[in-house]
Symmetry: C2
Subunit: 314 residues, 2 copies
């Protein structure tokens, strides 16, 4: 890792006019990385901007005080982007043009002359913290807050197994730089919109168990989405509900994307069941702990197929 | 703090036959402290046991491998006990008999010849970590896990404002000792019983807003408790639901304790509203962020009183 940090540090010091690419499912880590890097580069007197598909309101604070800059792009850096496909609407413009890829995904598919990838890092922001240290940068509080946001959101506030002692020590250094961590965490973890509350109530209402309580299934239909006026973004996070239930080894969330087309998210206690294997039965895939697939049919048919698969597997 | 740590360390090294008192609302910090101290004292060849009112099943792992010891009590230490009243059914036996009080509450009322109190510590377990360092103890993984449990639960997994950079660095050291933090955090933060899920669904169903959405109220009646077969312990945690809703400055949870007698829990965004002031109107009190009171009447009457008070205050 040290070599690739050094190489990335030298690259960043010796280039200018940066477009920083974030992925199209904008989360705290890709946006935190993008804005932290943008601030550091500007602090070095360089031109830089963050390229994004959108900036959800909870993350607007990351961009505060950064004015628009107009310049001709000379250098393209991707942060937390595991695959160029994930650039969304920016894909075509930047395909094959990435000069430096900074990433923490196990399978990091972006092709770039310089790659700085560490799959052991909790988050992309953790890598950036080390990279900035390598560059000898003194972080200001806004950059520190952006890095903290990425680390905290990607680790579930230090709850998940990607949290290492190094992660915690980096977070400690960021707090020492003045980051208002309780304020950030309140927004990231302890705030739900009124619509989200309505949605969770509906999801709870749809909850069914099977396989003797070892599988739990919730469903959100197009009708519910229309009635509550929620979009797909607002459905994120629902998938954690069935998985949290005591005794549940496999938690399934069914979301109707188009009439009779359902997106299935599966979360499993990976020490007991493999979610990727489960989803492979339906042509999907992913990780042992979190996978997905698409199934067509009526909600009843889809639910019945999932129940049958769960009963068989468990 | 250093003097009182040194004094407490000398005390612990020079006594024996310990009863370690925990408070009667058994949480991760008091139980984590109790079992960590018990393990350390036994590791020094001393006799020690944890005195508790009960050991909820999520915390049973803290006591694993610790066999019963029979001995005549010579020394009494309280951990995380802010007031002797909080000893519950053990109060009478130990009143006035505490030799050493280790605590992190701002108002720490236990009278003892030796007090080791640090209100700046995130948790009592944070103080114990420092105390054990002062004593030159090499922590085993079970003791480290007990300390981690206390720190993690009292800080909401490092989310709350009591989390300092020191807290995070201590947690890092505990991880380096081999603590399985994801497993502990899964139980403490990401597991809900099936009953709890039913209860939350009911609570969501009862949700009403007032004061233009700045106040949210949920209610659980005796009828609901009977129907779902839940006890008061299982109602803990509900109070965080209304407070989490976006735009809500004051979140109120109404729980029927006896027919027409309601326990009210108020959680406020203390930068905007004072929960203690709110509860004082009904003869209750507490902190600016979290307070409580009792109100008699029908659910409709009680709700109407609370709504009126919220409308007036906001």
């Amino acid at each position: 890792m040290n070599d690739s940090l050094r190489q990335a540090a030298e690259f960043l010091m010796s280039h200018d006019n940066y477009d920083i690419l974030t992925h199209a499912y904008p989360d705290g880590d890709t946006l935190g990385s993008g804005y932290a890097l943008c601030r550091v580069l500007r602090g070095l007197g360089k031109k830089a901007r963050v390229i994004k598909t959108n900036l959800p309101k909870d993350f607007v604070f990351l961009a505060e005080g950064l004015e628009e800059q107009s310049f001709e792009t000379q250098t393209v850096v991707s942060v937390d982007v595991a695959d160029e496909k994930l650039l969304g609407s920016n894909k075509e413009k930047y395909l094959g043009r990435i000069d430096l890829c900074i990433d923490h995904h196990e399978i990091s598919r972006v092709e770039a002359p310089v790659k700085c990838v560490d799959a052991c890092a909790s988050s992309n922001c953790e890598i950036l913290f080390e990279l900035f240290s390598e560059m000898g940068i003194r972080l200001d509080v806004d950059t520190a807050a952006a890095l903290y946001t990425g680390i905290s959101t990607d680790t579930g506030c230090f709850k998940y197994s990607n949290t290492t002692s190094k992660t915690l020590r980096i977070a400690a250094e960021l707090l020492d730089l003045g980051v208002d961590s309780p304020a950030i965490n309140k927004v990231m973890f302890d705030t739900k919109s009124k619509k989200k509350i309505m949605l969770e109530r509906e999801a709870y209402g749809s909850l069914v168990y099977c396989a003797g309580g070892r599988c739990a299934i919730i469903a959100v239909t197009l009708e519910t989405k229309r009635r509550l006026d929620v979009n797909d973004d607002e459905l994120e996070g629902l998938a954690s509900i069935p998985r949290q239930i005591e005794g549940v080894e496999i938690g399934i969330t069914i979301r109707e994307k188009e009439p009779d087309v359902f997106k299935i998210s599966v979360r499993a206690n990976e020490r007991l069941v493999n979610a990727a294997q489960f989803c492979a039965r339906f042509g999907g895939g992913g990780h042992a702990a979190a996978s997905g697939c698409m199934i067509k049919g009526s909600l009843e048919e889809v639910t019945a197929k999932l129940r049958a698969a769960a009963e068989e597997l468990l």
